[in-house]
Assembly symmetry: C2
Homo-oligomer: 362 residues x 2
Amino acid sequence: MRTAVKKQYKVAVLAGDGIGPEVMAEAEKVLQVVADKFQFGLTLTPALVGGAAIDASGEPLPAATLALCQQSDAILFGSVGGPKWTGLAPDKQPERGSLLPLRKTFDLFCNLRPGQIYPAFAELSPLHPRVSSQGMDVLCVRELTGGIYFGEKGRTDTDAFDTQRYSVAEIERIARVAFDAASKRSNKVTSIDKANVLQTSILWRETVERVAKDYPGVTLEHMYIDNAAMQLIRSPQQFDVLLCDNLFGDILSDEIAAIAGSLGLLPSASLNGNGFGLYEPAGGSAPDIAGKGIANPIAQILSAALMLRYSFGEEDAARAIEQAVQQCLAQHIVTRDINPNSTYGTAAVGAAIVATLRQENR
Amino acid sequence: MRTAVKKQYKVAVLAGDGIGPEVMAEAEKVLQVVADKFQFGLTLTPALVGGAAIDASGEPLPAATLALCQQSDAILFGSVGGPKWTGLAPDKQPERGSLLPLRKTFDLFCNLRPGQIYPAFAELSPLHPRVSSQGMDVLCVRELTGGIYFGEKGRTDTDAFDTQRYSVAEIERIARVAFDAASKRSNKVTSIDKANVLQTSILWRETVERVAKDYPGVTLEHMYIDNAAMQLIRSPQQFDVLLCDNLFGDILSDEIAAIAGSLGLLPSASLNGNGFGLYEPAGGSAPDIAGKGIANPIAQILSAALMLRYSFGEEDAARAIEQAVQQCLAQHIVTRDINPNSTYGTAAVGAAIVATLRQENR
Ligand SMILES: [Mg+2]
Ligand SMILES: [Mg+2]
């Protein structure tokens, strides 16, 4: 009998500020349990980032932290920032000074933002029960390094301009991420554009259609951005993967977050072309509730699940975490951001998810 | 005793195709009643447009129709298009071939799209009752002739670009429309931009702030487009007037329409700097229900109210129409797009609004 060589993953754990450390502690416990259960090796190495790093070394992204990230297979990021550091120069601030250089260093061109309406918590959604009861399970795939935010721009006293520019190569690589993701989900991609008026959208549409030919099992549809903004509210259950440029993805991912209803449940991922990624909750560092043991750890735990799926290909482990989270939600084991009457704290929710995962083990 | 000289308004009535003629007939009756009641003269002159004009003369916007518009104080537009004309070349199609040249000829740089959640019909909204019960009464003011849709654009086989360009003059004139409108409403303007990344947005924000100084009674706030897309879903009651560039207004006006819940209730206006405007329902020509007497006339009637307000300054007459519409809604006198069990048709709803207006007269 041969012993299979265990896969080994190295994770840079950058908990950061505010609620970051306490929710990260729960995500680490969950990761250790699934590593054990699904038989892979996991090295979780902590490093300073954001305000905590500024306090220790004067820099929001110290060289040692960046070096650790470069030696790792993925970054699990908590959250950064707080009132203590708001007076600093923009590029020295916790968020700008850490996330922007990380995106740049690792060429993280792709942002993934899943949004779900969970049956047990459809009431969290600001949508009418006749809509939210249909559920929502969408993944917004957003191009992150091109488009109008990064094109040539300028101004005079009387005039200003911004340029949106996309190349076929840029569109292709983000489209592949979307189709790959759809293949692991419900096999549908809705590509968002404004092809009736924008040249970049026409190129976007042509390129996406060409990429689609490599994914015969995935259905492709095109939708104008204004119609998509409307349809997400009317019938979000129609969508699986939304493929968006930088600007349209910025808008729709936030619309999806609003529809899902709770920021405390929303993970996110930023990927490059080599499977490397940075995974973080969609919410912020919430300094007002930091250290009280009441922060919701689920977004951080689901971010760890995304890491297992998109950087490590450990789909079963990722699903196990997501199912354990859903079970805890169904049992109303939630922090008080989800249910104001709840008595469960950060650690109790984490422990319940760990216990569920262990139970499933038997 | 002097006899006041009655004000006289000339309206070009372009009913168009599909349900256009039947809903326009109701709007005309309503207009005649308020003209009588509020003592102004009104000349309603019909002309052909869209498919009906193509059938009669081969052109979607015949010279005689354009000439009538030029001799009028406003255009009341129905809707154009239908399956009969979809095979024509793009610039000969009913919609493109009539609305685009009209916008261009009259320099209609401003699009107004009001959106309301009516208390009696909050259930039409796809928002949760806890949100929709707070109501919504928002006016989206959208710049219509500039921005990324009209900037320099181009492409090669591997690359494409679009340019968003705004001048201070363009921003100023649309901002004034928004502040003027807010002065007649709830005195709040929310200006939408992405000033953290776009140069055009920085210029937009600076210019809007300067214009705001001329309106000390109006509160100005700025909001990023992605946050606005979120806030409209979470708490639409916070907004009064939304001031948007062309692209952002395109997206948010449709989001507002989705939140309002019924296209059959939504009017729109396109204005130039001289008070001239084109007024039309936000919905389309609905050829599937044309001629059946079941189309909802309210969007057309509310478009006529907008004309009275924004082109003629007949605020009292505009309000009287809007209140009569609200009363009929409150009494559930609605067509079946609003209530599938309703037995009221187009003419019955129109008659009820006319009767309400006459009653108020006494
Ligand atoms: Mg955003
Ligand atoms: Mg639109």
